[in-house]
Structure formats: C-alpha cells, structure tokens
C-alpha cells in the first residue's frame, strides 16, 4: 500500500519485536505477504539498530501490529534522518576519498568531480524522494569502499567491504564477478605458487569469515538458511515485473517471451545470455588486472546483468551508475550522457511518486555541474572518448572510418531530444485507451536501446584498453 517507506518501518517493527529465528518465516506475527523481509541479514541488523533508536524516541512507531501505516511528521523526519546519517557515514566519505585519490588532476577538478558524483539525480531521488527510503547509499557506499580498497592494493579490506555490501543487498552480486576476476588476476600476477597463492587463501578466508559472521544466527538450522535464500532470490517470480529498461521487457513488446518459453528455460536463457555478454571483459580483466580496467569492467558487467538478468528492478540501474560515476573524470562526455539516460529510465517510477519537479531540477543541476566542470562538449574527439585504438584497428580494414566522433555526437543529440520529448509527452498527454502503458513502454524501450549502445561502447573500451596503454608507453 504505502511503498518502501512502510516496508522499512515494518522491518524495524519485525526485527525489534520478534526473535531472529522468526524474521524470515511466515507466522501469525510476521505476515510475509505484507512487506516481508527480502534483503540479506545486514539490512535486518541495520533495521534493528534504527528500531532501538526509534524505541528511545517514540515506541509507538514500532509497536507490533498496531503501528502499521504509521505516518507523522516526526516519524518522517526520523526516517529521513536515518538515511541522511547512513549517507554521511558511508557513501559521502567514500566518494570524497575516491576523488582525492584521483591522479593528475588539480584540487579544483577533484572537488568538481566529487560535487558532480554527489549530485547524481538517481541516487538522490530514490533515497530521498517521496516514499522511497531505500538505503541504497549504504550498499553502494560499501561497494565503493570495496573498489577503493582493491584499487589501492588493500585487498583484504576491500573484499571485506564488498562482502558487507553483498550481505546488505543481494543485488550487489552484479558487481561480484569483476571483483572476483580482478583479485584472481592479481593472484595470478603474483605467481600461483608463491605470494599469489597466499593472497588467494587470505582472500578466501576473509570472504568466508565475513559471510559466516553475518549469517551466524541463521546457520543453526538448515531450514533457516534455505528460507532466507528463498526470500532473497525469488526464482518463482518470473523474468520481469513492471516495465524495466531490460532486453526482456523490450522484446516482449513484440514477442511474448513469458508465454512462449517455459519457466526454467527462461532462467537458463537469461543466465546464458548474461554470461556470454560479460565473459570477454571478465576474462580480459583476469589476464590483465589494472584499476582502470577494473572500473570499466564493473560498468560493463553490471550493465550486462541489468540488461539480461531476470527479475530486474528499475532501481538496479543505480548499480551501473555507481561505476560510471567512478569513471566520470576519464570519459566525462559519455558518463554524463549515461547518467542522464539512467535517471530518465526511472521516469515512470518517479512520476508515480510525484517527483517530477525535483527530478527535472536535479537532472538539470547535474547537467549544468558536469557541463561547466568538465566542459564536456569539447571532449568528443576519438582520443577523449578512448576509442583511438579501436578506430585505428578498424581503419586497418576500412581506411575511411574517421566519422566515429561525429556519429556519437549526433546520437547524443538525438538521444537527448527523444528523452525530453518523451518526458513532455508522459507528463502532459494522456495515453490512448487501448494502450494504457504506452508511455512507460516507450520510455523503457528507448532507455534499453541507449543501454545497449553503452554496453557495446564500454565493452570496446575494455577490450581495446591495453593496446592504448602499450601505445602510450611506446610514445613516451
């Protein structure tokens, strides 16, 4: 009924009033149909912590059964404050630290970079918008700490942070493969027989230890762990729900895949496609681990998962946006474009929450911040778009292939115009009676096309990346 706001409040109620063994089980006190807990244990512990604070301030907020649908000014302030505190403690320091560690950039540009990342409309709107209180910043922040740790060679701390992130929201598994490949590649580089093996064992130990620590209360009985897993991965739900900027949703406009293929075949097909699309980048990362390659592989893997996986929610695009924010300083033009599209893809969700004005305002603020800090419209040459080596390779076969930057610029303009028009149409016009979902379908299809383009682009960067590095070394 009320949305994620009520869900979060309900979880505080459940975790505070019921023993751990009952959190994930259906019982008379805990009706799983009414916003049942479907995130890993760390979310539950966080809700418990918030519940203690709520109990201190006003026990009515989390009283068992009687506090359903509770809403008051003070309670709203409390909930929003918890999001803000979580943001301040976890996400924002990670962003600031990331920008401080950027190399070869002046302090002013570092600050501008941090500002642009923090202004990203998607995260602000989803976490602070009307009734969405999702604590996405916690899981994304923890993942960011993981990325930072691993890039700066603090592998154990980084993997610990990432394990915590996965244990907070299971969607972080989208990022798990690049982490795995990167760390594996590092182990290979150090030599499988010596230091590499030691590192491998240490990392495995860290991962196992962190998982055990989080899941300890649930390991007492086999049924417990299985039930939690069943809540986390609802495999009986189907390929997609609602309109998502996903391949499956877009294809189902023409082909009703849900009806054609049986259920288990759907899962297998999506699994295979996802694997196929992210395999090249991951293999490349394992063979040639580098922090830069790691970041780009994060983007392409997360994007592959978003496009081809099953039961993807619109909000999952945030998992792709975070790595793109990390590469904002390297390819400002494409990153800004991607982040604008990602916010646009969530338009139906935002309109449902009455967030038209804030979303347009924050999008424009973000665009202005990026445009003035990075002067993105001047950075559209081949060199700037990291497509130099790719174009060089193509030109060996087609000598006239010099028009890539211009094509990309034209595509950008078409994309922006389409997004603006669709936004205007969705807001002002009523859809025809026969096709009530016309506008959301259009939005998701257009976003899907954009995302496919970005998938190809980021994969090209990853695959042709080392040759770029090698050429530069030759020049120097």
């Amino acid at each position: 009924m009320f949305g994620d706001y009520e869900a979060q409040r309900h979880w505080q109620e459940i975790t505070f009033n019921l023993p751990i063994k009952q959190w994930y089980f259906n019982s008379s006190d805990n009706n799983l149909q009414y916003w049942g807990l479907d995130y890993p244990p760390l979310t539950a512990y966080h809700s418990l912590l918030c519940a203690y604070v709520a109990q201190f301030i006003n026990p009515d907020w989390i009283a068992l059964h009687s506090s359903r649908g509770y809403e008051s000014q003070a309670h709203k302030l409390f909930m929003r404050a918890t999001v803000l505190i979580a943001d301040l403690l976890i996400y924002i320091p990670a962003v600031v630290l990331h920008c401080c560690c950027l190399k070869e950039i002046s302090t002013k540009k570092k600050i501008a970079n941090a500002l642009c990342i923090l202004l990203y409309p998607g995260l602000i709107l989803i976490d602070y918008g009307h009734f969405q209180i999702m604590y996405n910043s916690v899981s994304l922040g923890l993942a960011l700490w993981g990325v930072l740790g691993v890039s700066c060679d603090w592998d154990l701390l980084g993997s610990l942070a990432f394990c915590l992130a996965v244990n907070y929201k299971q969607m972080e598994l989208y990022h798990s493969l690049p982490f795995f490949c990167f760390l594996l590649g590092k182990c290979f580089k150090k030599g499988l027989k010596g230091k590499g093996f030691v590192l491998f064992v240490k990392l495995a130990g860290t991962v196992v230890a962190s998982f055990t620590l989080c899941w300890l209360p649930f390991f007492t009985e086999r049924a417990q762990a299985l039930q939690v897993l069943r809540r986390l991965f609802p495999v009986d739900r189907g390929l997609f729900e609602d309109k998502v900027a996903n391949i499956w949703c877009s294809v189902s406009v023409f082909l009703k895949i849900k009806d054609i293929l049986p259920h288990h075949v759907q899962i297998i097909v999506s699994f295979c496609l996802t694997l196929l699309s992210l395999l090249p980048a991951c293999v490349k990362l394992t063979l040639q681990p580098s922090p830069k390659g790691f970041r780009f592989t994060l983007v392409s893997c997360a994007l592959s998962f978003f496009l081809f996986s099953f039961q993807v929610h619109e909000k999952s695009i945030l998992l792709v946006s975070l790595p793109v924010c990390l590469v904002l300083s390297e390819i400002p033009f494409m990153s800004t474009w991607f982040l604008l599209v990602s916010t646009f893809s969530m338009l139906p969700l935002l309109l449902k929450d009455d967030l038209l004005m804030p979303s347009v305002v924050t999008t424009m603020a973000f665009f202005i911040a990026c445009a003035t800090s990075f002067s993105i419209f001047e950075k559209t040459s081949e060199e700037e778009l990291r497509l130099k080596s790719f174009s060089v390779s193509v030109r060996k076969h087609l000598p006239r292939f010099t028009f890539l930057p211009r094509i990309i610029q034209h595509l950008f303009i078409i994309s922006v115009i389409t997004m603006v028009l669709l936004t205007l149409m969705t807001v002002t016009l009523d859809p025809p009676q026969k096709l009530p979902d016309l506008f959301s379908v259009l939005v998701s299809s257009v976003s899907c096309l954009n995302f496919l383009f970005f998938l190809v682009y980021f994969n090209i960067i990853v695959m042709w990346d080392s040759k770029d590095g090698r050429n530069q070394k030759k020049i120097h």
Partner: protein, 473 residues
C-alpha cells in the same frame, strides 16, 4: 493538467538555457543553479505573507483604484506604495489564468496548489531583475591583480555572495516576499552611480521608493551624495567644496525626476483626495515599537532591560504591582505599550536617535566625499542605523545592510571581515522566520553553516588577495 503545462514550459526554458551554459559561462551557471534551488523550495513552508500577497492580488484585480487603500475585509491591508499595487495588478492579470478563485477578495486564506505555484513562480521570475542587477554590479568590481583562478576573481565571489545569499532565499522563497526584484532595483541604481550615470541611478531609486518605502532608510545617503557629488561638478584640489561649481541644471533635473516619479505614483490618489489615508496605511505608527518577530535592534535590548528592571523592582518592593500595565510587549502581533521603569519611547525619539546615528556618516559624505565607495559606505551605515534605532523594524531589514555590504567586501580585506560578522549574525537572526517543523530549521542550519563557511573562505581568499594592496584605498 494546466499546472503541468506551466511547469514544463518553465523547465524547458531553463533546460534550453542550461544547454547554453554548456559553453562555460559561470555566471549563467550560478544564476541557473540558484533558480533550480528556488524551484525545489516551491513546496516548502510559507508564512502569512503568502496570504498577504494573495489578498493584494485580489484587491487590485477586483476593486477600483479608489478602494485599494480603503479595503479592509482581510486584516492584511495594502500598506505598500502605489507602484507595488500596480505591480500586483499586473500580476493579477497573469494569475487569472492559473486560478480565478484566488482573485476573490472574500476568499481568505485561499491557497490551492495552483495559487502556490503561481505565487512562487512569480517570485522566481521577477528575480530576473536581481540577476541582471548583480551582473551590472560585477562590472563595477575589478580585482587589482589579474586572477587566473576563477574562484579568486572578485566578480565570481560577488556573484556567489549576492545570487546565493541565503538570507534572501529564506525571506523570498520560503517565508515568501518579493524582495528579490526590489533589491535588484537598488543594486542597479548603486551600479549606475558607480558607472557615473547619476540620473539613471536617481530615477531608479525614486521608482524603488514608490515600490517599498522601507528604502527611505537609505534615502539620506542618496540625497547627500547626489547633492554633493553630482550637483557640485568639481572639487577644490584638497577635496573640499567648490561653491561656484554648483550646477542648477543638474539640481533641477534631479528634482524633476523625483517629482515626476512621485506624481505618477501618488497622482491618482491625490486626485481622489486619499493621500492622508494612503500615508496612514504606509506609516502605521500605531503598530508599536517592536515587531512581533523580534528584530535584534537597540529597542529590543531596551525592552529587555526594562523588563529585567521591573522584575528586580518588584522583588525589591520598589514598585507597586498595581501600577504595572498588564499588556506585555512581546505578546500579540502589533500592540502599543508603555515601559514600566525606563522612559517610554515615542516615534519622535526613535527618529532623533536614528538621525544622530547617521549624522557622522552624512558629514563624512558631505565634507570628504570618496566617490561611489564612500556613498556605498554611507548607505550601509544609514541602513544599519535605521535598523538599530528605527520604529517597528522588521528583521528582514537587515538584508538592506547585508546586500550592499557584499559589494564592499570584495574590495578590501577589512570590509570582508566586517561582512563576515554582519552576514553571519544577520542570517542567523532570520531563522525565527522559519518557525515550523524542526526539519526545515535543520536544513537551513546547514545552509547557514554553508554560507558562513563560504563567507569565511572568501574572506580568507580576499585577505590573501589584498594583503599586498595599500590600505585606505
């Protein structure tokens, strides 16, 4: 659906502008950024001033001119000069496309979502004049050294201080008033005086006076400056007056400008024989020494002292409890009262105190004119003195001192440190205007902290910048 059309139109215009900003104009980026922030403030708390302005829209739209200053259905009667009434009249013609109901005089406290949207957008829209005025002021500010770093340029600092002034944001876009374009007029007239276009400056100030008469606080500065530095066309080598350089032509043209503007404004009411009524509305001396929201001026301290002394007197049995009037000076919005221990204060006394306070700066302006900068200093001092000693002063009047001070602060390190103190305390004193859910207060505590740290950072940078410049310049 109409609301969404308007939102879309406004936002499309801004989107187009923001695309142009991609070219890198920092001024446009700053202006657009703060406009976007103002859009986000649309659904926030608004005070009774919202109803005041809606009422004036209704009065000017539905009633003939002869009724404007007599209408009293609502308690919020028209108490601004005629130009502002005409401004509301013009706005009401746009308002009727949003919601016809808000223009009904009897619809007290009417605040549909369309009304809210219209009023908020009108403030945001009229702020365009303020943006233009800031642009003109930036032209008058020049750094001594050529700065490559954008954030150290005085123009940039001044733009940030003026466009993102949190006091103005609080008063205009939350509490709800139309100060943006009025301050735009004032800053524009100051800029014209800096650019030696005195007639325009005088004209703009005359117009401004007839929009909101609170600017009478700074009228002495204008009068003395124009008389001394414009009517006397030249000085003796040592800086004192050269009496034979007096230009009657200039004096008469100034007088004519002011007279024509006043005639345009007050003429219709003179013809209707309503001037006394207009003046009684404009200068309501029955209202009392202190406004409901305590303006932190001298009389607040005076009242507090009186209260303390009366309490002490009661304890020590020096005073007879029966003689102390029951009315307290802080309860209720507008009341007259008598002081118990200290002598009572009448409007005449406050006027005398104010005049004494501004006398030194006026003397300086007359005997040792230092060009436009001296005028600006005198203006700020007039504003501060009137704020300190005036009768029924609003807290918002502190903005009258803060905004021109920003202009001075980018010029000298000493001014910058004074500005830091002034703006911090001034903005802090505006917080009672937001008495609502604590959440808003927290948000603006953050905003105030940001603006304070911004001012501090700018002060630091200006100290660095001007540490090498000779003092007294």
């Amino acid at each position: 659906m109409r609301i969404k059309w308007v939102e879309c139109a406004a936002l499309s215009v801004m989107a187009a502008l923001s695309v142009m900003t991609g070219g890198g104009s920092w001024f446009l980026a700053l202006a657009l950024g703060v406009t976007l922030l103002k859009c986000l403030l649309i659904p926030t708390y608004h005070s009774t001033d919202f109803e005041v302005h809606r009422n004036w829209l209704a009065i000017t739209h539905s009633l003939p001119i002869s009724q404007w200053y007599y209408e009293a259905t609502s308690e919020w009667t028209l108490d601004y000069p005629p130009f502002f009434a005409w401004f509301e009249y013009a706005l009401s013609h746009v308002a009727k496309y949003f919601d016809q109901e808000m223009l009904n005089v009897h619809n007290l406290n009417y605040s549909s979502s369309r009304t809210l949207l219209f009023q908020r957008f009108s403030v945001i829209f009229t702020d365009a004049l303020f943006v233009y005025a800031v642009h003109e002021c930036c032209k008058c500010v020049d750094g001594k050294k050529a700065c490559k770093e954008l954030t150290e340029k005085p123009k940039f600092i001044l733009s940030v201080l003026l466009l993102w002034n949190f006091g103005l944001l609080i008063v205009d876009h939350i509490h709800f008033q139309y100060n943006g374009f009025l301050f735009g007029l004032m800053l524009l007239s100051i800029a014209r005086l800096f650019q030696k276009r005195h007639m325009e400056g005088a004209f703009l100030f005359a117009v401004l006076l007839h929009f909101k008469h609170i600017y009478l606080y700074v009228a002495p500065a204008y009068g003395i400056y124009l008389l001394r530095s414009y009517c006397f066309t030249a000085n003796k080598p040592d800086g004192s007056i050269r009496w034979n350089s007096f230009s009657f032509v200039r004096l008469i043209s100034l007088g004519l400008t002011v007279f024509l503007v006043s005639a345009l404004s007050l003429g219709p009411f003179l013809a209707l024989n309503q001037l006394p009524q207009v003046f009684s509305r404009l200068f309501p001396f029955k209202r009392g020494l202190c406004h409901a929201y305590w303006a932190p001026n001298f009389w607040a301290v005076y009242n507090a002292l009186d209260k303390v002394l009366s309490v002490i007197g009661l304890q020590l049995k020096l005073l007879d409890p029966k003689k102390i009037p029951k009315a307290s000076m802080t309860s209720g919005l507008v009341q007259q009262f008598q002081h118990t221990v200290l002598p009572s204060v009448t409007p005449l006394v406050t006027l005398i105190c104010t005049l004494i306070a501004i006398l030194p700066s006026i003397f300086c302006l007359w005997f040792k004119p230092q060009g436009p900068r001296g005028f600006l200093r005198c203006l700020i001092l007039c504003a501060l003195s009137s704020f300190m000693f005036g009768w029924h002063v609003h807290e918002k009047a502190i903005l009258l001192a803060i905004l021109p001070m920003s202009l001075l602060s980018v010029g000298k390190a000493g001014d910058a440190s004074i500005f830091l103190i002034l703006s911090t305390t001034g903005h802090y004193s505006l917080f009672p205007l937001l008495f609502t859910a604590p959440g808003k207060k927290n948000l603006f505590l953050i905003g105030w902290k940001l603006s304070t740290s911004l001012a501090w950072a700018l002060w630091k940078s200006s100290v660095n910048l001007y540490s090498l410049s000779p003092p007294g310049s």
